[in-house]
């Protein structure tokens, strides 16, 4: 029951999910390709004007992350449903919330890796300056992704075990992401524009608060959701 044991289980679940992902790669490649495609489509939709692209870049970037990342979450639980693995997983002793944390970490690594590829591509397509705002931008990406992945991991635990999971996950998840999306887009936009009004700090603080609120809520609600 001790904390080191639970930490061990968290690490084991994260290691297991990431090993399986690395083994197949097909899922990761498909998600990255889809993300690149969405970036392109936004480019077409927004027109070739460099100023317009730059102005809309923060929103397009985050929507790309949302639409492609959401595919990773259902997959994370489908692996468990494939051959009755979830039942075996729930039978291990200890706290079920360790499973949540392990999956959250694995999903976080997955989405951050997608972003690592998407971000330079977006910089090229939308004429963005990446190097100057980089430390702040990396922080915003990390915080925004933590909020996104926390809620995604939680809602996928429900949606993946329901008929019509493809529709239900975005329907449940996206309205919950409004605050995180809003703060992340505003902070990213401010940083990309050189932060003339010094407003990125406020949004980053807000993002941090949202992350904490949603993490605590999902962490404690997970036990009610995962049991059969």
């Amino acid at each position: 029951m001790g904390l080191p044991r639970e930490a061990g289980r968290v690490a084991a679940v994260a290691w297991k999910d990431l090993t399986a992902e690395r083994r197949t790669k097909a899922n990761f490649n498909a998600v990255v390709f889809l993300a690149a495609l969405i970036l392109f489509l936004f480019g077409f939709a927004l027109g070739p004007d460099a100023e317009a692209l730059r102005a809309a870049a923060a929103g397009a970037l985050w929507l790309t992350v949302l639409f492609s990342g959401v595919l990773a979450f259902n997959h994370s639980y489908q692996v468990e449903l494939e051959s009755g693995a979830l039942e075996a997983l729930l039978l291990y002793p200890g706290d079920h919330r360790s499973i949540f944390l392990g999956k959250l970490i694995a999903n976080l690594v997955f989405v951050l890796l997608v972003e690592a590829i998407v971000l330079p591509l977006a910089a090229v397509l939308y004429h963005l300056p990446l190097l100057r705002p980089f430390p702040g931008l990396a922080g915003v990406l990390l915080l925004g992704t933590v909020g996104f992945v926390t809620l995604g991991t939680f809602y996928a635990a429900i949606a993946s075990r329901v008929r019509a999971r493809e529709v239900l996950l975005p329907l449940l998840l996206f309205p919950m992401l409004v605050p995180v999306l809003l703060a992340a887009v505003e902070a990213t936009g401010a940083l990309l524009a050189g932060d003339p009004m010094k407003e990125s700090g406020g949004w980053i603080r807000l993002l941090l608060i949202f992350d904490v609120i949603f993490f605590v809520a999902s962490f404690f609600a997970f036990e009610y959701v995962i049991e059969e």
Partner: protein, 239 residues
């Protein structure tokens, strides 16, 4: 166990009385609001949409608060009636949020010149509508009652939390809307009408929730009787 919740369901007669009172209160309050208040300086008679729009919005959020309370009580006590209460309140919340948005648009178009504006209350109401749809969709996709109750309670609690967070964050994002309408900020000539309408909507809200709750309890009662019958039989009926 099946028998124990029959008395808890209020008798049909008392429902009908409450329904008649709620309807009468609504009609009375509307008539009073429409006739007793002078046309607004800027908006003219348009302003009177306030008598339905504002109470509808209040009741919608109140209904979702009942979803929150029902969800918390269910996870705490694990009694089915709290789950049914939350579900009944969500159905009413769906109707009221849709009404609020429609009325808001009708009001907004002549007043601000747009059907939609990204103001905190309007945006939060829209998000609330979507979350209520998600909540009810989830319920319809899960057949097993125990699982449905646990999952929707968790979703209901997170959604309630999100209502507050969305409201705060959109407020940060946009702060151009007029001050919230409440009896203390509107002209005294309109305050009475607003108060009475709020009361009437509250009665309608209680009536609707109780009605849906009663229907859900009766459904479960029939199901429980069928279950008990089936349990008593030796053979499988539904293989």
């Amino acid at each position: 166990m099946p028998g124990s919740f029959v008395p808890a369901v209020v008798s049909r007669r008392r429902y009908q009385i409450l329904g008649i009172i709620a309807l009468a209160a609504l009609v009375g309050a509307e008539l009073l609001g429409l006739s007793a208040s002078p046309p607004d300086r800027d908006m003219g008679h348009l302003q009177k949409i306030m008598y339905v729009h504002v109470p509808a919005a209040w009741s919608a959020f109140l209904a979702f608060f009942v979803v929150f309370i029902g969800s918390v009580l269910y996870l705490w006590k694990r009694e089915e009636r709290y789950d049914l209460l939350a579900a009944a309140a969500a159905e009413v919340a769906l109707v009221l949020t849709a009404l609020t948005l429609a009325l808001g648009s009708i009001w907004g178009r002549p007043t601000w010149g747009v059907w939609w504006t990204w103001d905190p209350r309007l945006t939060t109401t829209a998000i609330l509508l979507v979350m209520t749809v998600g909540y009810l969709a989830l319920r319809s996709f899960v057949d097993e009652p125990d699982r449905r109750a646990r999952w929707s309670a968790a979703v209901g609690i997170l959604a309630s939390l999100n209502v507050l967070v969305v409201y705060k964050s959109v407020q940060w994002w946009r702060t151009l809307h007029q001050v919230q309408s409440s009896p203390s900020t509107v002209d005294p000539a309109y305050a009475l009408g607003l108060r009475l309408n709020a009361l009437a909507f509250l009665l309608v809200l209680v009536y609707f929730i109780l009605l849906r709750y009663r229907a859900a309890r009766l459904e479960r009662l029939v199901e429980a009787q069928a279950e008990a019958r089936e349990l008593a039989q030796g053979e499988e009926l539904h293989v």
